[in-house]
């Protein structure tokens, strides 16, 4: 295997991207904090205001990442989609397992709705971060 080892000898160009990876990771962090808050109340019913706020801000960050991603030029969408598909497959299994555990533990109503929405943000944010990180260095 041969790899380039001396960056000094390369004539480099600089590509600048908006912070899509940071936004989607931020969304992930917010839903994880919300999830920890909910789990810390189990098996009691958690007050949902703060969790809902974390969820809304997380969803907004993810939406911002999506908008910025859609507007990118000079970006390997083919690589992004390839990686995204595999990553979302893995994360869907994880999310389904968490949802199953909450349903099995009799979580119902608004709590279940918030957990489900958090899992949707989780399922979209992780593949977005992974696929963006890979695709930013790729060329179609």
């Amino acid at each position: 295997m041969s790899v380039n080892q001396s960056p000094d000898v390369h004539a480099g160009t600089v590509r600048t991207y908006p912070p899509i990876g940071w936004l989607s990771t931020g969304a992930l962090a917010l839903v994880i904090i919300g999830g920890i808050l909910m789990a810390s109340y189990a098996p009691r019913k958690a007050p949902l205001g703060i969790e809902a706020a974390f969820l809304v801000v997380g969803a907004l960050l993810l939406a911002c990442a999506g908008v910025l991603l859609a507007g990118l030029k000079d970006f390997s969408r083919k690589t992004f989609i390839t990686v995204f598909k595999w990553a979302i497959f893995a994360d869907l299994i994880t999310a389904a397992m968490i949802e199953f555990a909450f349903v099995r533990d009799q979580t119902r109503g608004a709590s279940l709705l918030i957990v489900t929405c958090m899992l949707v943000v989780f399922t979209l944010s992780v593949p977005t971060t992974i696929a963006f990180t890979v695709a930013r260095y790729a060329q179609d």
């Binding site: 480099g12 899509i20 994880i32 920890i36 098996p43």
Partner: protein, 203 residues
């Protein structure tokens, strides 16, 4: 705030790049083992099968903690002292396996751990273990953000880079550094997990 990528042109060389076998980023042979673990966890939760819950939690948690400690505190520093070429060679063999192993052991540990805590009454605010469990949730939360938001994307980006006809050594080196530092942090956080879990088991 913007992210800047230095897009380094490959080193000029004469003739076509040497033929290298493609790296299989997701080792498909490992998927049945992973699927079996998912089935076992699902059945153990659905049926409240105490032995299986405990087995998945202890086996998954032991592997997760051990792998994180070993990779973060032993392999990571060694990798940091190797040449980029050697790091790339190692990563090509090591990282695809981690792509399968880590999500599987993490899923086994967390899904069953929550059920065990619920069954044993450790989730109740009156339980002496409740504060320790909250601390454990926080440690796991931080590790999840680091692993899913920084470490795993860097791993997969390294593998994709190495599948290019002429991999960019500088980029691989930079991404591997990210891997080494984040693996070190998660390794240290696993020490906290060990302290918390042994407290929970002995109170």
């Amino acid at each position: 705030m913007t992210d800047t990528v230095r897009d380094v042109a490959p080193t000029p060389f004469e003739g076509p790049p040497p033929e290298r076998p493609k790296i299989q980023i997701v080792p498909l042979k490992g998927l049945p083992i992973s699927a079996a673990a998912v089935v076992l966890v699902t059945v153990s939760i659905a049926t409240n099968w105490q032995w299986a819950l405990m087995f998945c939690h202890v086996a998954g948690g032991g592997l997760w903690t051990g792998i994180d400690l070993f990779v973060g505190l032993v392999i990571g520093p060694i990798l940091g002292r190797l040449s980029v070429q050697a790091r790339a060679e190692f990563a090509a063999k090591f990282m695809p396996k981690m792509v399968i192993i880590m999500p599987t052991v993490v899923m086994m540990t967390l899904a069953t751990g929550f059920q065990i805590a619920r069954k044993l009454g450790n989730l109740y605010a009156t339980s002496p273990n409740h504060p320790w469990l909250i601390a454990s949730f926080c440690v796991v939360g931080i590790m999840a953000v680091i692993a899913l938001g920084i470490l795993e994307p860097a791993n997969i980006a390294v593998l994709f880079e190495m599948n290019k006809p002429v991999p960019n050594g500088e980029l691989i080196g930079r991404l591997m550094k990210r891997f080494i530092y984040t693996a070190g942090i998660t390794g240290l956080m696993q020490v906290a997990t060990l302290i918390i879990m042994t407290r929970v088991a002995t109170q």
